[in-house]
Symmetry: C2
Subunit: 334 residues, 2 copies
Amino acid sequence: MKSLSIKDIAVKANVSITTVSFIINGKAKEKSISEAVIEKVEKIIEESGYKPNQIARSLRTGNSNIIGLIIEDISNSFFSRIARLIEDKAYKRGYKIIYSSTENNVDKAKELINMFKSRKVDAYIISPIKGIEEDIQMLLDDGNPVILFDRNLSDINTSYVGADHFNASHQSIQSFIDQGKKNIALVTTDINVEQIIERCDGYKKALEDNGIKYDDNLVLKIHFNQEERETIAQIQELFENKKIDAVLFATNYLAISGLKALKQINKKVGDDLGVIAYDDHEAFELHTPRISAVQQPLEEIAETIIKLILNQLSSKGKSPVEEVIIPARLVIRD
Amino acid sequence: MKSLSIKDIAVKANVSITTVSFIINGKAKEKSISEAVIEKVEKIIEESGYKPNQIARSLRTGNSNIIGLIIEDISNSFFSRIARLIEDKAYKRGYKIIYSSTENNVDKAKELINMFKSRKVDAYIISPIKGIEEDIQMLLDDGNPVILFDRNLSDINTSYVGADHFNASHQSIQSFIDQGKKNIALVTTDINVEQIIERCDGYKKALEDNGIKYDDNLVLKIHFNQEERETIAQIQELFENKKIDAVLFATNYLAISGLKALKQINKKVGDDLGVIAYDDHEAFELHTPRISAVQQPLEEIAETIIKLILNQLSSKGKSPVEEVIIPARLVIRD
DNA sequence: TTGACCGACTAAAACGTTTTAGCATAGCCG
DNA sequence: CGGCTATGCTAAAACGTTTTAGTCGGTCAA
């Protein structure tokens, strides 16, 4: 069963395709189509359930009303929540989101960009990784709106929205120190992205500010794509061999693995062992004792991203590059 | 900067558009294009970084290589994990996923279907809700491949993939009874979807099979879109007013709210109060004590969905309708 | 020498829109 | 009455592909 085209409607209404198109696009008044014709055509459209073919429309107009969202991993709750918020807000403005996960793989990320490019998405929202600077620069050169979020790429001059990772991390460590902790570990990942680096820098700076010597042995860098089992083993090794009275996990999934690790070796979180996780997670509120976490203001981040994107989309010319750094909130629990 | 078109390539290579198209689509041999020309054109394509415009391609061929995925809520870990798996598998076969969340809203679901329809997606994967039967039937009538998952719609005759909710639920309750529990509560949602109904039916049947009378007062139906605060209050009320020694939560987010509720009123999960959650969640493994859960085989579900979709896409004719029910696994913890 | 066939390629239609440019007719002013 | 403007509409080009139905020369068998 072929679906209806604008032509079918035109024939049924006994008017030209042009007229139908004007009516569909709300230009009827402007183009001085008579009230009678407008009504007739609208009735026919209504009755027949005709929907314009977006593909043809996109081909003609050059825009797709689709925004491409490229993230690390949709199954990570930070990203899935952001995705949901962005989707929701975009949807309300008539845009659809088409997303994909890079899994921190440069090749996949490049492929995704190409895929989106050939699909002519109207704008790109990217949580980038090192190694795709060139591809992003090409998008910018072609005049596409691009917003980076969560992590910045210093070489790229485009708008960015993210939390203040440095200060959040600094503040977390400071809170440990204020509680009298001295041997503070950091469990982080080995992926080389700005937001992770800032978290490390905040850690170092806080130690330094308090006259505590930075000890490389207390920092564990976990390889990104490895099995959780291995991660757990490495964390256990760290805690068994070092004297540690507090730990900052640089991502929520590391914190989850870490808590599992501690549980298995029967190390209790509490007064003797402080834990803060970067990025909140439902599990933390529920854990006994409850785990403190750095909360990124997801709603605000999503809202800002959409705002910037829409600005760029409406002002055809170059919009100013904006970097929005949003404070994150350390939620101390128990 | 306009992006390149096939015409630019043709001009550069001094051949016709047709020839370039054949080469791009791997039909060069078949159409007897000479080796020399193939090489020349491929070189130019390579150098110029030309990518075919998928929109024009879709318009012409009528298919988009996009599969539409309609789910309840991408920020729910069950769905985000499934989405990730589906995306991954589809991607490997050259398909992209475009997804959207219905939030259990019939109007939004209908709109999404229309949106996907006008975008000419090649196939639909839908976790449906009551009230969109007609729309789905229209898709089927138009000859679109449609796979339902997670929940079935009895009125609709199309392929379905889901877990065996009835038995998983039955088994969960049976395990409570085997431990000597008598007053078993069920916390579920009020959305009227088959998979939830099956979970309730499993609950009832298990009680009946063991000669325990079904008590309506032990079943709490939570309104879907309400604030978590309210949910927690209702659950607390249930536990404060009834004698309950075990509870099955029909979804993972209800279990999370439930555990928070119990924690607040200082009711300890353990020997005196058994808890099982439907759908696993990282928080359960981490909880003290660890929470038992029904695990749906996500990997298998995703794989089956993709397999069915690809079958339908390749066999242009009507493929047989298949209902695949996959056993779920009750993981008893602690 | 002819006709059939083959190899190597191409012209042009078609997909379903949007949009530019223009065509009647009518009314109005001077 | 001639020229203008407004009203109400439409023809046709264009967007970038794929694909059908060729064309054009050459080779080979009869």
